[in-house]
Each structure stands twice: as structure tokens, then as C-alpha cells.
Amino acid sequence: MALAPLAALVRKDLQIFFTDRRAVVLTLAIPIAIASFFGLLFQGQGDQEAARVAVAMVDQDGSGLSKRLIAATASDKALAVTQPSLADARAAVLAGRIGVAVVIPAGFGDTAIRAFIGQGRNADLELLTDPSKGAEVSMVRGLLTGHMMGAVTQEAFTGASSRRLLDEGLRSLDTSDVPADQRELLRRVFESVQALSRNQETTGTPARALTMPFEVRETQVTGLPLRQYNGYAHSFAGMGIQFALFAAIDLAAGILLERERGLWKRLRSAPLSRSTLLVARAISGTCITLLTLLVSFAFARVVFQAPIGNVGGFLLVTIASSIMAATFGLLVAALGHTPAATRRVAMFVVLVMVMLGGAWVPSFLFPAWLQQLTWLVPVRWAVDGLDAMTWRGLGFADALVPTGLLLAFSAVCGALAVWRFRWEEA
């Protein structure tokens, strides 16, 4: 491959890129602006308190259990609890202002305690939900289950109404179909609970037992002595790769535009190999993408203290990601016809790749089969590799697999581009 023409072609592309200074500024600034915004959203687990999920608790029961349940949910840092009327709660869900309203119907407390001690059916708890907020509903359902178990246990064993219900339970034991040996054991349990309840009432000392038996302690696991997860590092990785692929579309459109303008006739008339022409484009595209990624991460490092755990590994993954984007651009140019049509189709493909790569929506929300599919998408390898070398703080060795996959993808794209490129210039 002739190096002097190759260098001249690369220099030409870089000259053209830097000629339009406004475009250069935008090329660098837009990924930074969008990544900063996403970083701000994902950074909620840091010093700033995460946004609470709004929940309406409609208490039509007024029992000790319903009050315990509302108190427990109100003390949950993940929830913002209000107590509107049923009509207001329904209207708020309908309007999308809240995702879930919990309706505690009249008689809920008694029914739930009876069910807890094996007397009667389970109590009904109604959730009014916004169908567009499935994640919030799932989260509230999980938290509510935990709070409910705690509240029912405490109310059944220590609540004022429980003695009456236990009396009922004791009376009905004799006529129940519980086996005789179990019946006697249950009688002792109920009587002990009644005794405990009376003891609390006379001494005024709440029972030390019968509380939630564990506390959750979170430790963020990274390879660095980080105080906390840095959401900016991840968002700059995701958005950086997204804009690298957008740059690849520009590269492809540029090649097709050059063909429309007859420039490829002049280039092809020179004694140059086909690979020289495409490799030059790949090199210049890689340089421009690399510059964009490095400037973005430098900004994230300085402004948001986004960590770079392993500089060598980071550079390796960044270079491989840039090569991947550039060769993808070559393939798009090889398969495309007109710049406008190619840009639209390629934009669709890139957006799908970015979405599957987990840059927008966490991939755990995808169906299982789709989650498997994401491992075929180079965006995921690039983002995972950058995550590993930045906030995860993993070592250089952990950069090798994503780098290898990205370079293999690049080789396939490059080979297909050379094969499928429309070389004939009639």
C-alpha cells in the first residue's frame, strides 16, 4: 500500500473536517451536552437523593393495621406517600400524575389478621395502576409486600384489636377441622400472644421482638476505591459510542456525496489500490471519532470527576471503538446508493444498535431472548469495555476481550465494504 497517497488522503479528510469550525464545535459539544444530561439522570444514586415514586394511600379501613401500613410506607425513602380520597387518587392515576394508588378497603385490618392466624380468607388490597408505568408498579408492589408483612406481624402480635381476634380464634379452634395435636399447639401460641399483648398494655413497654429481622446494607462493588458509582462515566460511554456511529453515517454519506460529485472518478484514475482508498477513509474516520471520544471523556473527567481506572485499557477500547465506527461507516457507504436515502436507513440501524446496546434503556428490561441478542451488538461491547476501564476500575486484561470483539467486527465490516463497494465509475 502506497503510504504517501494514503497520508495525503487522510490529511485531506482531516483538513475538510477542521475547515468548518462551527461544525467541529458542534461535533464535540453535542455529545458532551447530551451525555451530561443523561449523566445527571443516572447520577441520582450519589450524593443527591433519588427521586421518590409517588404513591397514593387511600385508607377506607382506619384500622390499626392500615395505619401501621401507611406509616411504614411513608417512612420509605423510595416512596412519596399522599393520602387523597379515592376519587382524587383515581383521577391522579388517570392523569398520569402518580403511577400507583393503594386502596385499603373497610374491614381490611380484621380480615388480614384473621387470615394471618388461619381464620378465614385473605384480605383484598386494591392497586389502581397507570399501565404506562409498569416499572413503578412493580417497585411499589415489592415494597408494599415487605411493609405489609411487617405491619401484619406487629399488629397480630401486639395490636389492640388482635386480642379480640385471638379470642375469636381460640373459640373457633374447638370447632375447626384442625387436627387435635395441632389444635393444642395453636391454642398455646394464641394464649401466649394474648399474654404478651396484655403485658405490653399494662407495662407500656413495646415488645422488642417481632420486628423486621434484618437491615439492608449496600456496598458498591467496583475495582477502584470509589466512594460511589459515577453515572457520568457510563453516560459518556453510551452517548460517545452513539455519536461515534452518527459520525460513521456522516463518513458514509461523505463517500457517497464524493461519488455523486465525480471525485471518485479522479481518485480511481490514479494508480492506487482499492484498499488504499478505503483504508484512508477508515483512518481519517477513526481519527475524527477518536478525537470526539477523547474530548468527551476529558470533559467528563474534568467537570464531573468521571474516573478512568486504567488509562492504557481505556485508550485501547476507545481506539477499537473508533475503528469499529469508521469501518461500519465504510460498510454503510458500500451498501448505500444516494446520500439522503443511506443516511435515513443507517440512522435507523444505528438507533437500533444503540438501543440494543443498552445506551438508552437498561437491557434488563428487555425480554430474555432480546437480552441474549444484545451480545451480538458491538455497541454493547464498546460500552461494556469503556465502563470496565472507567468507573468499574477493572484492569488492562479486562479491556482485551471487548477490544478483540470490536476489532473482529471491524475486520468483517472492512472486508464486506471492499467486497461490496461499487467500484465501477461509469
Binding site: A2, T19, R266, S273, E425, A426
Partner: protein, 247 residues
């Protein structure tokens, strides 16, 4: 210097060039005439190595042209019909790039750029971006880019399309100068008067075939025979290619 023998190229069922043969000697300008779709541009593209012929040969100074990197391609300069220039770059930067593709570098490259710009009257605009140029200036720069590496053969595909008479005349002067320096020029055009002014021999093509290959005098004589005394080259052209409108 340039010989084309039995060139053939088809696109599916459409035969673009069908057994074309002609030659161009040093110091000679051949006018390649034909209506739209006659096969002129495809023929030029095959000579320049842009399109691979289905059959036939292109020989440069006696050497058959083989492949993209054939060193004999250095002997060819192409001036495409399109304004094949990077508008964002200056005139000098364009020529610097195109010269580098032929391994020109350093002082020889800068000298070649200076000479080419001087020849086409753009020396004072060397540092200006091409997008600020008029159509005529771009055409002249297009010519300069094709001859920058001092090729022995210059392929000119309708190089005067859309230019004002001044620029057109300047291009003609440039071509006559190049012919005088012993270059072999192949010039495709629709304009009879351009061929009459510049060409030593005229090749008329239609439907991919060479219909005539003769000197201007020979063609005039033939026109007189076929179309009557005093008949113009254009009337002969129309007699050979017909009056049916072409796409």
C-alpha cells in the same frame, strides 16, 4: 501513445460499448463525438481504469493496462465531466492532494502546482477555497488537476460544459499548448465547433460503435459526398447518428 482495441462493455442487456477501436498519437487531439448514450463516457472510463472492460484492450505506450495499481496509469490524466474538486479546500490544497496520489511531493509538487495554476490563470487564487470560484474557474482548476502530474495522455470528458466564452477559450488555448508539448489528448464533446477547432482526427460513436474515424478534412469530404457540397460536419454527424431524440 494510446490504443483502444475492440473494447466492449455491457450492463445487463444494454451494450454500452460494442467493439470500439481507435488510437491517439503524441501531439494529437482526437475528438470523440456522439449523442447522449453513444458510449463515449464509458469508453473514457475504461481507458482511465474506472470500469473494467468485458473484452478488448487498452494499451498505453504499448503496454496493456492491467489493474488499479498499474504504474502506466501515471501516464494518464483524467479531466472528468463533473467538477471533481473538494470545494471546502483551497485550489492549492486540491492540487496538492491530487499530485500526492501520483507520488509527487516536496519541491516538485509545489512547482507542478504553481505551473498548473499559472497555465489555467488561477495562480493568484491558489489560496482561495474552491467554493468561492465561478463555474469557469472551477472548470479551469478541473483541467489543472488532470494535468498536474504531467501525464502523456489527457482524457477530457466534456471539459467545457457550462462555462463562459472566456473560460472556454482559455481552456482551448491550454489544450493547444498541451498538444504542442506532445501530449496525446482524447476530447469528448457534443459541440461540433469545438471538434472542428481543436481535433486532428474525429471519432464518431453511436450505440457503442465507432461509426467514423477520420481527419476533419476526410470527414468534410465524406459530408460533401453524403450530404451534398458545402455540408457541415454537424449535418454529417446527424446523417450518421440520426435525428431521433436521445435520453
Amino acid at each position: 501513445m494510446l490504443a483502444v482495441r475492440d473494447l466492449r462493455k455491457s450492463y445487463g442487456r444494454v451494450v454500452a460499448v460494442d467493439g470500439a477501436s481507435f488510437s491517439v498519437e503524441s501531439g494529437q487531439l482526437i475528438g470523440l463525438l456522439g449523442p447522449n448514450g453513444a458510449g463515449k463516457s464509458t469508453t473514457v472510463a475504461m481507458i482511465a481504469g474506472l470500469v473494467t472492460p468485458d473484452a478488448g484492450t487498452v494499451t498505453i505506450a504499448g503496454n496493456p493496462l492491467r489493474g488499479d495499481t498499474d504504474p502506466h496509469k501515471r501516464l494518464i490524466g483524467l479531466v472528468p465531466q463533473d467538477l471533481a474538486l473538494y470545494e471546502e479546500l483551497t485550489a492549492a490544497a486540491n492540487l496538492r492532494l491530487f499530485g500526492s496520489l501520483y507520488d509527487l511531493r516536496g519541491r516538485p509538487l509545489e512547482d507542478a502546482i504553481g505551473s498548473a495554476l499559472l497555465l489555467v490563470g488561477l495562480a493568484e487564487r491558489a489560496g482561495d477555497r474552491v467554493k468561492t470560484f465561478s463555474g469557469g474557474m472551477k472548470r479551469r482548476l478541473n483541467l489543472a488537476a488532470g494535468m498536474l502530474h504531467d501525464p502523456q495522455i489527457l482524457l477530457l470528458d466534456e471539459p467545457t460544459v457550462g462555462v463562459d466564452p472566456q473560460s472556454r477559450n482559455a481552456i482551448f488555448d491550454n489544450l493547444e499548448y498541451l498538444k504542442g508539448r506532445g501530449k496525446a489528448l482524447l476530447y469528448t464533446t457534443h459541440y461540433m465547433e469545438e471538434a472542428e477547432r481543436l481535433a486532428d482526427r474525429i471519432v464518431v460513436m453511436d450505440h457503442g460503435r465507432v461509426l467514423a474515424d477520420d481527419t476533419l478534412a476526410g470527414l468534410r469530404e465524406r459530408a460533401g459526398r453524403d450530404a451534398g457540397p458545402g455540408a457541415s460536419l454537424e449535418s454529417l454527424f446527424l446523417a450518421m447518428t440520426g435525428r431521433t431524440l436521445r435520453d
